[in-house]
Amino acid sequence: MKIGVFVCHCGTNIAATVDVERVSQEAAKEPRVKFSTTYRYMCSDPGQNLIKEAVKKHHLDRIVIASCSPSLHEKTFRKCAEKAGVNPYLMEMANIREHCSWVHQDRVEATAKAIELIRLALAKVSRNKPLEYLYIPIEKKVLIIGGGIAGIQSAIDIAFANYPAVILEREPSIGGRMARFDKTFPTLDCAACILTPKMVTVSQSKHVTMHTYSEIEGVKGHVGDFTVTIRKKARSVDINKCTGCGACYNKCPVRVPSEFDMGLGKRTAIYIPFPQAVPNVPVIDRQNCLWFTKQKCGICKKICPFEAIDYDMQDEIIEEKFGAIIVASGFTQFNHAVYGEYGYGKYKDAITGLHFERMANSSGPTGGKIIRPSDGKEARDVVFIQCVGSRDEQKGLSYCSRLCCMYTAKHALLLKEHNKDAQAYVFYIDIRAAGKNYEEFVKKVQDEYGAVYLRGRVSRIFEKSGKLIVRGADTLSGAQIEIKADLVVLATGLVAQPDAPGLARMLHIPYDRNNLFTEAHPKLAPVETITSGVFLTGACQSPKDIPDTVATASAASVKALGLMVQDRLQREPLVAKVDAKTCSGCFACIQACSFTAIEEEEIEDKRLKKKRLIAKVLEGVCTGCGNCTAVCRMSAIDLEGFSNRQIMEEIEAL
């Protein structure tokens, strides 16, 4: 064994506190060290050349670099070793900068510690094994979880590059939240007018498959080779036979509140959620359908000219393989039940912003009239309350939901457009209108549409003689205010879907205390996750408006396409490995593996002359966390690159 030690000055970063020359001299005295030197910047081109030449000249077969943190330059020096003809995994680093020269001032102490750190690296490298890169094939298909605007945009981008995309949507139609909106700020385009063409593009693309009314059940595997289990819920309508003629829902006798219209309108038991639904195929709501509840009616089946109605349809479980996954699972509204003082569930005329969107929509349940749900009369005085849930650590969320300022301003504008005599009052904490033309929009609403903005919180809403009395503070004038309102609109915040943690666990991606998915780096890897091959877009990560959602959707698509265009993926070979002779087959490792990367394998035990089961690591799936090695009582499973021998050697060297 011939080890070379290369001590970096890092300019004065190391050399100022650590006597690098002395460190190099001491290292040279260590057994198995054949060569030792220092250089001003080991990571620079001349520095790397110096390493290469030393390897050649002294026939070095292992390398220790004493410099900065491996988090910074491990890759650099592995490549350098490879170029020098040394297996990249026979290189170890001693971190004498972040863990030594930068945290100590005493030159003698720091120098002594640097020498010990090198000794540690020498001990480890002496037990390193040459390892070969792993290569894994890539399934050329992208799964998109969620069919809102984020998922739709991702699918369009991926299809445009001629790669197949699959949209998984749990509702009967794609479109998501955006499909419910009336107009969009700040340009006031009608949401349907800009969304519907995209939905049609997706439905007509030969590269896009849609699983609507479907849920994700499980994810196995890893980047390049995910196996996803999907439950296609029984729609009770054959999607291949149905032409979307509408005969069935026109004749259905049942009327229940429409979820799409936030309960403001009614739908039938066999229904499409909204007229522009994609696919334009109805679904039977079995909870309310007379056939399913009372074995009566059956009109839809009788009337359907295409025999598409199938009451016996069962949920179907399918498995599909994907190379990458884009998570576009979106958000839901904050449940303001905790604000008892806002009369949750008590007053019909206190609604949320999404209710308002449906009312403002000319094809919505009120035909575009802003009314009081309690008596159907047109609303004149409307109070909007911002930050319901948002920015309230005591009762709600610590964060700002980002869009409520803008959509409330839009609502105030729409109110006036729908009813010239109406008056909007907006209670706010701060107005956050940081977007292109956003501030101008809010100003316009205040100046041209006469919306009264009151800076302060509402303390209570109560009903008195048919009106809602809104009491609040105007902190700018210091006055208490009471407004007699016809309608109160609560700008409820955006929160993660209730089942977000479950999805995160399936995908092995972390989520924060608000159950929002966490990106790999908040600045430099905003759409990646720490699980390679899984990308984020839209409001499942943090509240986002439509422009931001679409931008992250395209960004995530590019990341996924970056994988699609490769023939195979190179992976670090730092994975677990089983020693068949030592393994007892107790499978403690299988239970403890968070990635299902270990399975049972039958081997012929020569000693016992019998077949028996032992553990086997799926190299492509193993993430190299090493948890299995610590639960294995017989140490039959070990981790390459951080092996038991390497670590024990380090301990002995201390």
């Binding site: 945290v103 003698v108 102490e109 968070s594 966390c625 090493g626 948890n627 610590a630 201390l654």
Partner: protein, 154 residues
């Protein structure tokens, strides 16, 4: 190698007054090791008594590593990982937490000073916490005194 002047190694051999504790930290490379890196980048000063063994995850740390350190005369052992919920491998630290609470209690039962084996959660952004934990650890181990228990023969 000749012992360097002022090195903890030299001090270890001498009388108790000059003794400096030797501490080993098993740090997961995603959070705690990065936190220690950040302490460096932020130039936070702490005593030079700790040596770091870099591991992928606190879940990688075998209780036998800890035992080996202790019977080899290391004065203190620290296992440090990501905060709960932050694990790069999502669950590794959960396993470590369970495993080491048993070991810690057992060691104490057998008469090993509980200060000699400790755990911490330090994130990649907690350079200050790393420096603080090392300082506290060094102080506590100094109070516990040198680990000479295993030097005695039968």
């Amino acid at each position: 190698m000749t012992a360097t002047e002022g090195s903890p190694e030299r001090k270890r051999g001498k009388d108790k007054k000059d003794w400096e504790p030797r501490i080993v930290g098993f740090l997961c490379k995603w959070c705690s090791y990065a936190g220690a890196d950040l302490a460096g980048t932020s130039r936070l000063q702490y005593p030079p008594n700790i040596r770091i063994v870099r591991v992928p995850c606190s879940g990688r740390v075998n209780p036998l590593f800890v035992l080996k350190c202790l019977v080899n005369g290391i004065d203190g052992v620290l296992v440090s990982g990501c905060h709960i919920g932050d694990c790069h491998y999502s669950e590794g630290n959960f396993y470590a937490r369970r495993r080491f609470v048993i070991l810690k209690r057992l060691l104490e039962y057998l008469g090993i000073d509980p200060r000699r084996f400790q755990m911490s959660w330090i994130s990649a952004s907690e350079g200050d916490k790393w420096a603080r934990v090392v300082k506290e650890l060094v102080e506590e181990i100094k109070q516990a005194g040198p680990n000479t228990e295993f030097r005695k023969g039968i």
